[in-house]
Symmetry: C2
Subunit: 559 residues, 2 copies
């Protein structure tokens, strides 16, 4: 083809949605438009009014449609491409963020009578109020020796699909009865765009107990969870799932008009933000661990076979790239820990120096922390400010720092926090390698690697592995979404027939790489050994002090 073709990628994050227009020939990003969700993360009060309980985190699904209306036309306009040259649309979404809907696709929360009912809204991935339900799922799952317990590294998370659904059943049975469908918001969005309820295998596999070729756990299991749920799959969830990059359908006339695209433009099956980033980071084969680094880290890895790796968030056949097993692991807070420190732990002398030099105080911290040698500060941290996702899968763990003396300075604490998160990543790398799933190098994307060169160097030194940076760094999910749109369109239409083909042409890494420094790596080997001892002591039941403190805290809050 001589004429340039383009794909549209729409990336749904936690706070906003982003639309990008990407050139198919080389992956060049022609435009990028971000629209914050009008209702944002709803964790205090509903748009109506009722006050939410602690640990709730909801979203209004109409905000996703608002992004379609506002961001897409803007991106198309900025890119100066014509509707007919946009040959495919791909999306990606946070997960698991499920919601109730009627049989025609209407969000329950859009119906006036439900506006003030918290349970009708999207339960955002970081909704943490379904922990009792997750505990019950795990208890029953273990008793019955269900396969999902192993697939999810030993524990089904409170953040996931059925924990959230069980919470609805228990706390709002009327909502459960009123919903015809309980569906990931990402799949619901594709349903809106195409008129077809076609769910994706990725979210179902990683968050929804679905296994290729075997489907869901039996109705016996669901009945054991709750009698009302015996037939939940047939009644609310559905049995048919579609692979990544497949075409869900053509764009409806309604949305084609709203967005300024051609009716019938192929729309790819829904996908997950972290997963879609992997091929956008050039990775379509085993050996390279992709780290999507932001407030948290998602670790994505491909393998040739299924292994049960401790504390993995999941292992799903075709879950990232068709033909391979996709592994997902994660650290529940990384950038969030630094943000916490920036707000709660940075003393006056850092701010003063920053004012004097007219630079952000973070730059001062970074400068001083960079001047330290590995091990020089004598500090060690457990990076559990928001619990531990992999490999311990325990939200009730908390942060630890030791080694402080009267001479300890703020930049030393900052560096120890970075090192703690790097040790967390190394723990995940070693969990993979202990099962024979090789990690030869790391590829980073997301907001955190940008400018944070100290952080990247420490990760290289701690893991002993070279780190590449994706290009682009921060919009790689949106790029990945567009790449899947190109695959949904197919080569005949000017797209690609496989995600590997798309990656070869459209994805790249930066020239800047971070190589481990031998002497630093040696020192970090020592510190890491101590990290692991503490990790196991506090994380595996030898001393449950963190949990006792948390439960005492809860008890006192309730008095």
């Amino acid at each position: 083809m001589s004429k340039e073709k383009f794909a549209l990628g729409i990336d749904y994050g936690t706070e906003s949605g982003r639309a990008v227009v990407v050139r198919l020939r080389d992956g060049k990003l022609l435009s990028s438009s971000v629209i914050p969700y009008p209702d944002g993360v709803i964790d205090d009060r509903l748009p109506g009014d009722p006050k939410l309980e602690p640990d709730w985190a909801l979203q209004n699904p109409l905000d996703y449609l608002y992004v379609l209306e506002k961001a897409v036309p803007k991106a198309l306009k900025d890119a100066k491409v014509k509707a007919e040259d946009v040959i495919g649309i791909g999306t990606d979404f946070t997960a698991s963020s499920p919601m109730p809907a009627k049989a025609d696709g209407t969000a329950l929360s859009a119906l006036p009578k439900y506006r003030k009912v918290p349970h009708v809204y999207v339960k955002l991935w970081k909704h943490h109020a379904a922990q009792p339900e997750a505990n019950r799922i795990n208890e029953i799952g273990r008793e019955r020796n269900e396969d999902f317990i192993r697939i999810y590294g030993g524990k089904y998370s409170s953040e996931w699909f059925f924990s959230k659904l069980l919470q609805v059943v228990e706390e709002a049975p009327d909502v459960y009865d009123a919903m015809d469908r309980f569906i990931e918001a990402g799949d619901w969005l594709v349903w809106q765009l195409t008129g077809q309820e076609k769910r994706n295998t990725c979210t179902a596999g990683y968050k929804g107990m679905w296994v290729k070729g075997r489907g869901f756990p039996s109705s016996d299991f669901f009945r054991a969870l709750h009698p009302r749920m015996e037939n939940v799959i047939a009644e609310k969830v559905g049995e048919e799932y579609f692979p990544l990059g497949a075409k869900a359908g053509g764009l409806t006339a309604f949305w084609a008009k709203k967005m300024g695209l051609k009716e019938g433009t192929p729309v790819a099956i829904g996908n997950v933000d972290a997963h879609v980033a992997v091929p956008a980071c050039t990775v379509t084969e085993p050996g390279a661990l992709v780290m999507i680094m932001g407030t948290s880290i998602c670790h994505m890895l491909l393998g040739n076979e299924r292994q049960m790796v401790e504390g993995m968030c999941g292992v799903v056949e075709d879950g990232i790239v068709p033909g391979l097993w996709g592994y997902e692991a994660g650290q529940s807070a990384v950038g969030d820990i630094f943000a916490w420190f920036f707000e709660h732990g940075v003393p006056d002398y850092i701010h003063s120096e920053a004012r004097k030099k007219k630079v952000p105080f973070q730059a001062i911290l970074e400068k001083h922390a960079s001047a330290l040698k590995a091990g020089e500060a004598g500090l060690l941290a457990l990076d559990w400010w928001n619990g531990n996702r992999s490999v311990l899968v325990d939200v009730n763990l908390t942060g630890l720092m030791l080694g402080m003396t009267l001479a300890t300075r703020a930049e030393e604490i900052y560096r120890a926090l970075i090192e703690g998160t790097a040790f967390g990543t190394r723990t995940i790398v070693e969990a993979f390698e202990s099962k024979g799933i090789t990690v030869n190098k790391l590829v980073a994307c997301g907001g955190l690697p940008e400018k944070n060169h100290l952080l990247m160097q420490i990760y290289a030194d701690v893991t002993g592995r070279e780190i590449n940076l994706a290009d682009p760094l921060q919009t790689c999910s949106a790029l990945g979404a567009a790449m899947h749109g190109a695959v949904a369109a197919g080569q005949a239409a000017g797209g690609y027939d496989s995600i590997a083909d798309a990656a070869r042409q459209m994805a790249r890494v930066q020239k800047l790489t971070f190589k481990p420094h031998g002497q630093c790596h040696e020192i970090y080997d020592k510190l890491y050994a101590d990290y692991r001892t503490l990790h196991d002591y506090f994380g595996r039941g030898a001393n449950d002090v963190m949990k006792r403190l948390k439960s005492l805290k809860r008890e006192i809050a309730m008095r």
Copy 2:
């Protein structure tokens, strides 16, 4: 006697000396004059010039004489008392702060040829460079099953007399040869005032291996330490020691004139700042634990018998009050930890609020921390920012904090630090009680309790014991020194015949007391159980991570 009589107390602290004039009838403080030491704590460079190694802390003994010259006349003038009505002089000193002198009392450091030799200066109590020597003393002491090992709770400190002397022998044998005497600065000062070298039993007992009725370890022991030291007691240290409150001699004509006092005024035997504070806190019987609370805490307790209590700094017969066993324990950093936090851990929002309300930022922290309930923050700290004195006697331990989440705030950390130090005190209280030495209540003095009501309440809640505050709080060592001056003078001269008599008339506590709150105490019982588990895990060898980090830090610093 109808005419009022007075005693002079001179209190030698770490940074300054203080002279007070006290009315004998009722202990009323008539004046108080503080003079900072011109050379202060010498921990970087000698007044001459040579750069000191890390961990050194020296003083210039001439600074002590400067205090006599400046502070005493000022205090006498402010008090408007006549020389003839000052019937006794008492002093107290930091310990162990020993120094070399010639046979006539001349400080070696005052001789021009030695000015640039670090080892001729006073080795201040917090000189920490004699750790290898302390290790050797402990090793040989244990091998030989020397009594002092048990008396000092299992370990002889690097801060004490013979560790510092052994450092001189090893590092500056010429200084060792040149000195005729190696003497506590407090005893040297009394020698200057009276012309008599009469050493006190208190410092010798707590810091110098001396035992009433038995004297020092044998010359075999000292030879084992170092061949040169075989006859160290006879040659440099002396065998005769004098009890607290005894008269060392009369004031010399020289110093009487310099200070504006009568020649021959009785001067009490030297004493230690913490020990002299005990009767000034009204305590002359067993049952009440005196806490001298400042940068660190000294815990002083009287008992009817000698018990070997774990990690005590010492147990000395007549060591505090004649006729009783005086126990000393301590926490090596308390106020220092808060000062560290104020400098290195207080974020912008606390400073902003303080600016807005025009109060010190410490007041904002205190206010928010006071609003928290026990256990509400979910944090727990090990208070080892400067090692652990009692009960673990280990300078290589470091601080720990755990329980942090993304919601943890600065005031919660501050409160956890206070609680950590309170748990440290409780550990000491329990060590005493486990040996049958009762602690019914606490009496606090020093700078820290002043205005720090939250701190005092937490100590009461954590220990489950009422706390009285001494009156005066901050000058109780100076008052105690004056009380000993009154005892040196004796009743016939208008003073007192015993320290108990003096305490009955001259010492008092404030009306304000802190009583433990039942519910808080219950919660703190739980937190304390976890503190103890961590204390033992990190402090007793199960996990020596703190020491590994420290030694790695040292190794890297030396590269």
